[in-house]
């Protein structure tokens, strides 16, 4: 419906190219670009009309274009993992893919032109270049820290050099940039740039470290989480995370509509770990001993 901030359209693949360990897909999806902002995501149906995989797969919007040769397009960077992402990365030009986008809350942009550090783990860097542009338009100094297990799992190092005022690269195995994790270098970068905000996207463990480092160095972390999502649009309650509200109270909130971007210091990292997110005892409506 118009004015609802989200569209569902029959998309068409116009490009699918391999980039390192990932696939970079461009999909015609009229109406998305006009609504989307960096940090939002798209939910794609997978498997075609005979598919046994009912649930949509969510991907950060890498970029969007309001019009072009084909009408509006969106780009995503996909790591082939299970059946859904394997199907998507196997698509050819002209193949159809149903699109629901944009979804979720974007990265909040600072009111003032403060220095920012953008941290991406693996394909988590995908939404950051667009974000960097938006920040630079507002006069922010932008540095990026990109990390991955190995060189082929870094995404967008070249693009980063164009979009940011400084780029630091780390890999676990040292195959590119500094050996180590993004959190090993982040403190330095925050200090050097005097960053007020650290934006991050990547695996949960990384987001937690980024939050800790940012906090220790006096910056606010804005993290885009990646919880398992069944619907992506806020109706199923599968994607919840324990997050403190402005009132200090922890609630199990839906990361698809109240996230995926959260202020890092409000996420209850203490409840998250080992592939499980617990309900903190002090969360609203938490189970009480002996049942609810």
């Amino acid at each position: 419906m118009s004015g609802s901030g989200v569209v569902q359209v029959a998309g068409e693949v116009v490009a699918n190219r391999r980039v390192g360990a990932y696939h970079h897909l461009t999909i015609v999806a009229p109406g998305v670009a006009e609504l989307a902002r960096p940090g939002q995501f798209v939910a794609l149906a997978v498997g075609g009309p005979t598919s046994a995989n009912l649930l949509r797969r969510c991907f950060s919007l890498h970029k969007v274009k309001a019009s072009g040769t084909y009408g509006g397009t969106l780009d995503v960077v996909v790591a082939a993992h299970g059946p859904g992402t394997q199907w998507l990365t196997g698509l050819s030009t002209h193949d159809a893919v149903d699109v629901v986008a944009p979804l979720g809350r974007p990265f909040p942009l600072p009111a003032e032109p403060v220095p920012c550090v953008l941290v991406g783990g693996g394909y988590g860097s995908a939404p950051l270049f667009w974000l960097a542009e938006a920040l630079r338009e507002r006069g922010c100094h932008v540095e990026m820290v990109l990390g991955a297990a190995s060189e082929d799992r870094l995404f967008g190092v070249v693009e980063a050099r164009r979009s940011a005022d400084g780029v630091t690269v780390t890999t676990d195995d040292g195959s590119a940039g500094r050996r180590g994790w993004v959190s090993d270098v982040l403190g330095e970068v925050v200090d050097r740039t005097g960053a007020g905000v650290v934006y991050a996207c990547g695996p949960m463990g990384m987001l937690r470290s980024v939050t800790e480092v940012a906090q220790a160095h006096g910056a606010v972390a804005q993290v885009a989480v990646e919880e398992s999502m069944a619907c992506g649009i806020g109706v199923c309650m599968t994607c919840v995370m324990p997050v403190r509200g402005t009132d200090g109270t922890t609630r199990m909130v839906r990361s698809c509509v109240e996230g995926p971007v959260f202020r890092g210091d409000l996420v209850r990292w203490d409840a998250i770990g080992g592939g499980i997110t617990r309900v903190p005892e002090d969360a609203v409506g938490a189970p009480r001993p002996g049942g609810h």
Partner: protein
């Protein structure tokens, strides 16, 4: 043009397609894709007395043509529901079927009492008692697995809901004899039945070699379970036709993704149909199913939806 209206124990709805409880939140999110008032009724997420956080995550696992969920009835509690969600639905002109539950039979009663007292109550066209949830007083055994517990809940709910507003009991298929449970709740005063809730299932994460859901078990839903839903509707309405249990309207739910799927439930005996998991695949699914169902009925030459209800019982192949 097919007359799509349907009457459920006195409540007349413009059409028979609904959301399924827990698969559409409380309306705002789906309203971005189609007006919730387009549906025959909007079925709300099961609401309990107190706010509930639900269970830890992972709460879901995709399965072949379906999914498991273990949300654990997360919700804001009946008071917040009456203050925020119900008035919003009323303002959209939605007809609302409110799904309620309790940890005990008495708690069902409390929830209904507060619901009925809500200023937005007039938009409520029925109450769906989700008795497919654990009964704390009975070792956590699901109410709907036991005729006695089921009866008790329905009696309490029926007493608290004003005359003229129907009460539906939502049954689980995880029982040896669903007709016996249907019989028990109808005799206890239910005006209709909703069938089916999810089937109990487990998925093992084959990388971690442990249950994929943090809560171990979950409810299986989606097209995978449709034949079970159609069977449940068929068995229960066949018993009604045979006169062995009281006659009452049945709302069919389970695996509906297309108008043809909805027609299966209708032909098997359902007077209305809910669309659940399919909404995750296609946010417009409930609205689309309505359009497709009407097209199918027109193709078959029906002028009234009501004439298609249970038609398959009359067209059995002669053997």
């Amino acid at each position: 043009m097919v007359d799509m209206s349907t009457t459920l124990a006195g409540a007349t709805l413009p059409n028979p397609v609904m959301t399924a409880s827990g698969c559409a939140a409380n309306g705002k999110e789906l309203h971005r894709f189609f007006p919730v008032s387009d549906l025959g009724a909007f079925v709300t997420k099961t609401v309990m007395r107190d706010p509930r956080s639900g269970r830890p995550t992972p709460r879901m696992a995709e399965t072949s043509s379906g999914m498991l969920n273990s949300i654990g009835l997360q919700g804001p509690g009946i008071d917040a529901f009456c203050e925020q969600d119900l008035p919003w639905l009323a303002a959209q002109g939605a007809r609302v079927l409110v799904s309620v539950a309790g940890n005990t039979a008495e708690e069902f009663g409390e929830v209904v009492q507060r619901l009925v007292a809500s200023p937005a109550w007039p938009c409520v066209v029925g109450v769906e008692a989700n008795i497919s949830c654990p009964n704390v007083a009975n070792r956590g055994l699901v109410f709907a697995c036991d005729p006695v517990s089921s009866e008790r809940v329905v009696q309490i709910v029926r007493t608290r809901v004003p005359e003229g507003v129907p009460v539906f009991a939502k049954l689980t298929p995880d029982v040896t004899d669903i007709v016996a449970i249907a019989d028990a709740v109808l005799r206890a005063g239910a005006d209709g039945l909703t069938m089916i809730n999810t089937l109990l299932g487990i998925v093992i994460d084959t990388d971690l070699l442990r249950p994929q859901l943090a809560g171990v078990t979950g409810g299986l839903s989606g097209p995978a379970v449709r034949p079970v839903a159609v069977r449940a509707v068929w068995q229960v309405t066949a018993a009604m036709r045979a006169g062995t249990i009281p006659t009452a309207p049945v709302i069919g739910v389970g695996g509906v993704r297309t108008g043809a799927d909805a027609l299966e439930l209708v032909a098997a005996g359902a007077s209305a149909v809910q669309v659940g998991t399919a909404t995750f695949n296609d946010p417009s699914a409930p609205r689309r199913v309505l359009t497709e169902l009407e097209e199918h009925l027109a193709r078959h030459g029906f002028t009234r939806f009501a004439d298609a209800v249970g038609v398959a019982h009359e067209r059995m192949a002669a053997l």
